[in-house]
Amino acid sequence: MRFADLLAFAWQVLGGYRTRTALILLAMGIGVAAVVAVSAIGEGARLYVVNQFGSLGTNLIIVLPGRSETAGAMPGVLMGKTPRDLSIDDALALKRSPSILRIAPLIVGAGDVRVGSRIRETPVLGTTAEFIRVRQMAMAQGLFLPEGDPRHGQPVCVIGAKVASELFGARQALGEWLRIGDRRFRIVGVLAKQGQSLGFNTDEIVVVPLSAAQALFNTEALFRVMVEAKSREQIPDAKADIEEILRQRHEGERDVTAITQDAVLATFDRILRALTLAVGGIAAISLAVAGILVMNVMLIAVTQRRKEIGLLKAIGATGAQIRAAFFTEAVMLALGGAACGLVVGKLGQLAIGQAFPDIPFTAPWWAVIAAPLTAIVTSVLFTVVPAKRAAMLDPVMALSKR
């Protein structure tokens, strides 16, 4: 039997039993669509998190006081005891490392920001000029903090886009003065809109020189130091240098933690990838269900088409040809179902993409390949028994009854 004829024959069967065909296509389609859509959601969540970390800056190492043995845990989770503070001098000493490109010490607090009679409480960030490059942020207007000795900053500040609009409305903020507590700062720049980045909205902050923040919050201690390594390859060296320099400065005690963005990212990446696989796998169960449906329908078909199978044998079909006809039918159903499912899954993905435009929903390549493949394999496997039964049918018995 020619392959084209085999296809045509199976096609005629599918066309001859339309309700049945539509039902299986539906079941297969739902299974494939579920796998595609669900894994697209998982993958979207993963990419979202990865991008969030990426927006922190590249080749980043975050140094924070206190020791934690949990490499790769979230910064906020690290609640080690703090035997010694990180000082500005500690931070500046890190520049000695040949693997470190730039550093930005950080102090964070909340302050009442005042312009005329308007008051707004915002997070206040004390840092140095290099912060903007370490974090890879952009300016909407003006300049970032000026370069200079971090111990003696000028009374200037940079404000987030939202702070600017809330305090000044449509008025020009650049060059104006604002008060934080009892200190006055001249606004030299407005940050470009960036939005949420790891729970920290840079549109709502005010950035002041490090020394000013120290005075405002009455502390010498740094919240953390952000370090940018010269390249991705040099991140481990930079990390080792940081630990060594600070150990020496802290009388031999390892009392700081250096977290590389990669380590944190890798953990998230692993967790979310596993999660996507797991939910994809659960969705794949629906494919197995579709497979069982195929088997049922095929078994019914063997009974329903007894006479036809008997006739085919009488006019010279071999057992192999009968089996081939059944398998072709099963594969065609699976392919059709998979195609429908991929289209529906893709549409579903686009629909949730519309609902949550921030999250990059994309079905991972393995799901797009595995889902149709699973559909085909299950439907072929579940056709083995019915096809065998059909091939073994006794033609005399099949033809003798009306």
């Binding site: 039997m1 005629q12 069967v13 008997g310 006739l311 006019i315 010279g316 057992g319 005399v396």
Partner: protein, 224 residues
């Protein structure tokens, strides 16, 4: 040429044995036209099924066109059926979802004959059996007589040497039945061996050789 020697066929129902055929010896020359008659349950269909290689005898030897086909494997039997034997059934057994033309084509499709050649033979068959106008119709749009003509055209599509018909007129009125017999007889005139099982003495009498089965044994073998 067909030679049956000592053919036995025993069916087991529970622990009872039903002897459908007992020691049947039969020699049929190429081009013979024979009818097989006998009471219900005498083994007519069983004999026809064994002749058509759809069923295997429990004992005895079957020679078809000089070859012993008794011990052939299933796939080889299928090949012989495809190449050398055509079946016509009481209930036509057309595939309901296929058109008349597609039904006629089916044995050629199974044999892997290329579409151009199929087309050529199909056109010829449609013409010979007066089915040109019905080629695109499905069985449920055809009359009984037309269905049987389609079935005969299908049986003839591979150019078999042996045509086996089990009560081909059993489901047709007298007039249509005689028409169908005329079609089968044309096959015989063109050199085919035709064996017809029937209950109708009038139809049985049309054959040159009449075989009578009783209780699985050949009780009469008369040539006109």
């Amino acid at each position: 040429m067909i030679r049956l020697t000592g053919i036995e066929r025993v069916f087991r129902v529970g622990d009872e044995a039903v002897h459908a055929l007992r020691g049947v010896d039969l020699l049929i020359e190429q081009g013979e036209y024979l009818s097989i008659m006998g009471p219900s349950g005498s083994g007519k269909s069983t004999l026809l099924n064994i002749l058509g290689l759809l069923d295997r005898p429990d004992a005895g030897r079957y020679e078809l066109n000089g070859h012993d086909v008794t011990g052939l494997a299933d796939d080889e039997l299928a090949r012989v059926r495809r190449e050398a034997i055509g079946f016509v059934f009481q209930f036509f057994h057309l595939v309901p979802r296929l058109t008349a033309a597609q039904n006629i084509e089916l044995p050629m499709v199974l044999a892997g004959i290329d579409p151009a050649e199929r087309r050529r033979r199909l056109d010829k068959l449609l013409g010979e059996y007066g089915l040109e106008a019905r080629a695109g119709h499905r069985p449920d749009q055809l009359s009984g007589g037309q269905c049987q003509r389609v079935a005969i055209a299908r049986a003839m599509s591979m150019g078999p040497t042996l045509i086996l018909a089990d009560e081909p007129t059993g489901n047709l009125d007298r007039h249509t039945g005689q028409e169908v017999m005329a079609v089968l007889e044309r096959v015989h005139r063109e050199g085919g061996t035709v064996a017809v099982v029937t209950h109708d003495p009038e139809i049985g009498a049309r054959a040159q050789r009449r075989i009578r089965l009783v209780d699985g044994e050949i009780a009469g073998d008369a040539s006109a």
